[in-house]
């Protein structure tokens, strides 16, 4: 069976659900607008204000249509609660190196940032990296950082 999932305007939708959602949105919003306009023209003194209020109610109708669609159609997203795997962090450092070149030295950092790194358990990661860099200068071995099964975590350059 062919997949009915499409990427539209930045996220995934189901084709059939999209058609229904658009129909619901159109009917509810326009319905609210026309009914409001019909009723208000009699009630409100100025025709201009009646039209402005009708638009306001039409926009409330848009939101109501969206709410109905949200209740009927579940998001096509898979959301995982997930802490970045510590094993990947070394990989991230490699990607940072590819992106920016030299990563800099911990000794350049103000004390507040050092404290912040310690609090996040990131201090050792950067310290290990620096030690590996120093070792590399001493012996022309490839860096000890190369993690196997390098899962690419994209830096998301856009």
């Amino acid at each position: 069976m062919k997949s009915e999932l499409y990427e539209v305007w930045g996220d995934t939708v189901d084709g059939r659900h999209l058609i229904y959602a658009i129909a619901i949105g159109a009917i509810v919003s326009l319905g609210a607008f026309f009914i409001a306009k019909h009723l208000l023209v009699g009630w409100v003194a100025s025709a201009q204000m009646a039209r402005a209020y009708a638009m306001l109610i039409g926009i409330v109708g848009c939101l109501a249509g969206g709410a109905i669609s949200a209740a009927l159609f579940k998001p096509k997203r898979h959301v995982m609660e997930h802490q970045a795997d510590p094993a990947w962090r070394a990989q991230v450092l490699l990607e940072l190196q590819n992106e920016f070149g030299d990563l800099g030295k911990l000794s350049d950092l103000p004390p507040a940032t050092i404290a912040e790194l310690r609090e996040m358990d990131l201090y050792e990661l950067f310290a290990d990296y620096e030690r590996a860099q120093l070792a590399k200068v001493d012996s022309p071995e490839p860096p000890a950082l190369n993690v196997e099964s390098a899962v690419s975590i994209k830096g998301g350059r856009s």
Binding site: T12, F33, F100
Partner: protein, 462 residues
């Protein structure tokens, strides 16, 4: 004397709270573009007859709140919260992959607080410095708009292509105006909305074409990894200056001042450039990531505030990408607000509020937005991101916007209004996708058609 002032203050306060609450919510929805959301709702507020201070606080508090909560999807889900969040993605993703997305989030919104507080007085100051030239610029308005349109087109992604595309685009708008004019229908909001929502209209049409549909087909749903909740600060309202270190506060302040002055440039471009400037001055990579993301999110606030306030205070003409786009209803919202290029007559917030009022109500709006969006984002970011990504389907978001197109189009010009939105949106959406003729350039194209072309015709006729 005191009673009317108190009334005005209360209205300004109420509208500011309303704007901040609505747009703090909208900011959580990824991809909710500023222009598509700020422009129509601000227009509504103008047309409902809300007094001038209320309009200003609604818009500013909304923009400031949105650029704080847009940090939630950007940092926690790895998807840009809106257009202004796209330049933050690289740093946000690196910090997420390092396992510290909450740091990215806290730094971003703390930068936003500092920059927003600095930007209002700076924008007023620059506007006062520019206002002696106001009359000159008003008289030359048609030509200033033409020059601005060409400049903004040149600095867009399309470069020369965008500059040349201005000509056919302006022709189409003049053609549509002439056509609807024959039926006695004069439209403006429909053009704004068509341009702002163009990418959605283009995407929906693409979905109907078999070849394009196959390209858009996906086998699986997208996977988002939501980072777990880490709260590592006490109290409900953390001090932004403690979240940031000295250097980060300093760079945020510096970039906020610079980006407040450069109000004619694209806000996205300023965000990128300011980030590069800061990044090249910070050595260690972790410090660089956090400092750049702080300064960049600060710039998303300061450019928006300055680009709306400076042209509004100094000229009353929408002479910046933000003023021409999301802030357009503050300048031009017929029948209430209007800009007449031929006579230089301006009737909008520029003529309704004094410079001191702009400063006072501007600061009020920023403070309201901070009091609402900052503690909300600090304390509930994780729950909000989880709710939005699990409960609000993209179909529902699209349905809401389709409803908006229908209601606004039919409200302004009946069937003709709707047809104009679809025509302009489809054309603009594809021009933006294929030629880099972006939304800001399209807005300037619209102003060229409305303001410059009549002046050219008059000149040639004389």
């Amino acid at each position: 004397m005191m009673a009317p002032l108190l009334d005005q203050l209360l209205i300004a306060l109420g509208m500011g709270i309303l704007g901040a609450v609505i747009f703090a919510g909208i900011g959580l929805i990824s991809g909710s573009d500023e222009t598509t959301t700020l422009a129509p709702l601000t227009l509504l507020v103008v047309l409902l007859g809300v007094p001038a201070p209320g309009i200003l606080t609604f818009f500013l508090a909304g923009a400031v709140a949105k650029h704080m909560t847009h940090a939630v999807p950007t940092a926690l889900l790895g998807i840009p919260g809106d257009t202004m969040a796209t330049p933050l993605m690289r740093e946000a993703n690196f910090l997420r992959n390092l396992g510290v997305p909450h740091i990215a989030l806290r730094k971003m919104i703390s930068g936003a607080v500092i920059a927003a507080l600095i930007a209002v007085p700076m924008a007023v100051l620059f506007a006062v410095m520019l206002s002696p030239f106001g009359d000159m610029i008003k008289r030359a308005a048609p030509w200033v708009f033409l020059a601005a349109a060409i400049a903004i087109a040149w600095f867009s992604k399309g470069r020369l292509a965008a500059v040349l595309t201005l000509i056919p685009f302006v022709m189409v708008i003049i053609g549509l105006q002439t056509m609807t004019g024959q039926y006695g229908v004069k439209l403006s909001v429909s053009y704004f909305l068509g341009i702002a929502i163009g990418p959605l209209i283009a995407a929906l049409f693409s979905l109907l074409a078999p070849a394009e549909r196959d390209k858009m087909r996906r086998q699986d749903v997208r996977t988002f990894s939501l980072s777990p909740d880490v709260k590592s600060w006490g109290g409900f309202f953390p001090n932004p200056l403690k979240v940031l270190d000295r250097k980060q506060s300093m760079w945020t302040a510096v970039t906020a001042v610079i980006s407040s002055a450069t109000f004619v440039f694209s806000p996205v471009a300023m965000t990128v450039i300011m980030g590069e400037m800061v990044g090249s001055r910070v050595k260690h990579v972790y410090h660089r990531l956090t400092t750049v993301i702080t300064a960049r999110n600060g710039v998303t606030e300061s450019t928006y505030i300055a680009e709306a306030l400076i042209p509004l205070i100094a000229f009353g003409l929408p002479l910046s990408p933000v003023a021409a786009g999301p802030a357009a209803p503050l300048f031009n919202a017929p029948p209430r607000f209007s800009v007449d290029a031929a006579t230089g007559q301006v009737n909008n917030l520029h003529s309704l509020l004094s410079t001191w009022e702009f400063l006072g109500y501007g600061m009020l709006a920023v403070v309201i937005a901070i009091l609402i969006a900052y503690p909300f984002t600090m304390n509930y970011a994780h729950r909000a991101a989880s709710y939005v990504s699990r409960k609000i389907s993209h179909e529902a978001v699209i349905a809401t916007f389709v409803g908006l197109i229908l209601v606004i189009g039919i409200w302004e010009g009946g069937l003709l209004g709707l047809l104009v939105i679809i025509t302009v949106g489809l054309l603009g959406g594809f021009l933006s996708r294929f030629l880099g003729f972006n939304i800001g350039v399209q807005f300037m194209g619209y102003y060229t058609a409305v303001l410059t072309v009549p002046a050219i015709v008059a000149m040639l006729g004389a």
